[in-house]
């Protein structure tokens, strides 16, 4: 009975993290719409990534009505999804923003994000094809740098 309750509770808490493959990156980059995709690549063990997550959440909350879509692409190992990533996502209140990169060989998708990216985490792509926006940042955003970077490309849109 206890085990049953435990399993039910576990289930209630378990959230689904969509997995993506390389093709999804191309889809976002080529989307024919007027949405700015802010695609951040992170991992739960990456200290600078974790430090900048609140600014992505704040960006989402403030700019979602202005067609800014924040996507946090988790690059943790598959084996850490249940034990580390899901608890982390709950704790940071970023359910709904996170997808998991299921592609195993980064060499097949890092260049799709940007040829400027060496693969070091964190990295962030701002992209909106119809407005000709494609900007990559291999860095951790400090303070209001993320919002300023978005404002720089996404004003009066």
């Amino acid at each position: 009975m206890l085990l049953f309750c435990f399993l039910v509770l576990q289930n209630l808490h378990a959230q689904h993290i969509p997995s993506i493959k390389a093709a999804q990156l191309t889809e976002w980059k080529n989307a024919e719409n007027d949405t700015l995709y802010v695609i951040n690549f992170w991992a739960s063990w990456c200290a600078p990534c974790v430090a900048e997550i609140p600014s992505f959440l704040a960006l989402h909350q403030k700019y979602a009505p202005q067609k800014v879509k924040v996507i946090l692409v988790d690059c943790d190992f598959n084996r850490d999804l249940e034990t580390k990533v899901k608890p982390f996502i709950r704790q940071k209140n970023i359910e709904g923003l996170v997808v998991h990169m299921a592609e195993k060989d980064p060499n097949t998708w890092v260049d799709l994000v940007s040829t400027e990216w060496s693969g070091a985490l964190p990295g962030t792509l701002l992209v909106c094809k119809s407005k000709g926006i494609h900007q990559f940042f291999e860095k951790k955003f400090e303070d209001d740098e993320l919002e300023l970077a978005v404002q720089a490309v996404w004003k009066n849109k």
Partner: protein, 202 residues
């Protein structure tokens, strides 16, 4: 006119310098790497030229704390055991700032090298000059050098960091094997995910 020229030279030099500090991948494939002299975990300094019987070098920027570096640790040990006798030893370099990442201090490097019985040199790039010169950005980040210290391959060790048993393409081994056989390296660079190098805050 001379003054203008001198001024332009200064501006150009300043621009070049500022680009150098941000430019990733300072060495590309085909570039000749400068030798260096860094402290090994045994306390002795090591330079490439001082490594005996080397036909080339597998230079790996790596560290203690990064899960990707840890995932590759055994594979780096195995690489050295396989290729050092063939003339391609692993030269591991930790470029991380110890303030930004205390787990990557020289003392912690010594502990890890001892615990895991590293068969290769594990060097401390405290000034980060070597990482800057190579253009390393993450750990692990591999540079394969031939006998003239020319960079022949840059990138990942293989195509599956998480599961060594599921690896399909051993990018680095393929490159070393090609050099050993005197053949051209087919895949000369690959991308990999890794931990960003923890640069010293200035």
């Amino acid at each position: 006119m001379k003054k203008v020229f001198a001024l332009l030279t200064v501006v150009f030099a300043a621009l070049t310098l500022s680009f150098q500090t941000i430019a990733p991948e300072a060495y590309g494939v085909g570039d000749k790497a400068a030798d260096f002299n860094l402290k090994n975990v045994d306390g002795k300094n090591v330079s490439l030229a001082g490594i005996p019987n080397a036909k080339g070098y597998i230079v790996v920027f790596t560290c203690n704390h990064c899960p990707y570096a840890q995932a590759y640790e055994q594979r780096i040990i195995d690489l050295h055991k396989k290729y050092a006798p063939l003339g391609y030893p692993v030269v591991a370099i930790n470029p991380n700032d110890k303030v930004a990442q205390p787990d990557d201090s020289f003392e912690k490097m010594q502990e890890r090298a001892k615990d895991k019985a590293y068969p290769f040199v594990y060097l401390y790039d405290e000034s980060q000059e070597v990482a800057h010169a190579f253009g390393a950005t993450r750990t692990p980040h591999v540079y394969l050098l031939d006998n003239t210290k020319t960079v022949r391959y840059i990138g990942a060790i293989d195509d599956d960091s998480e599961n060594p048993e599921k690896v399909k393409v051993k990018y680095l081994e393929n490159a070393v094997d090609a050099l050993l056989q005197g053949k051209p390296v087919e895949v000369t660079s690959t991308r990999a995910i890794g931990c960003s190098i923890k640069w010293t805050k200035k």
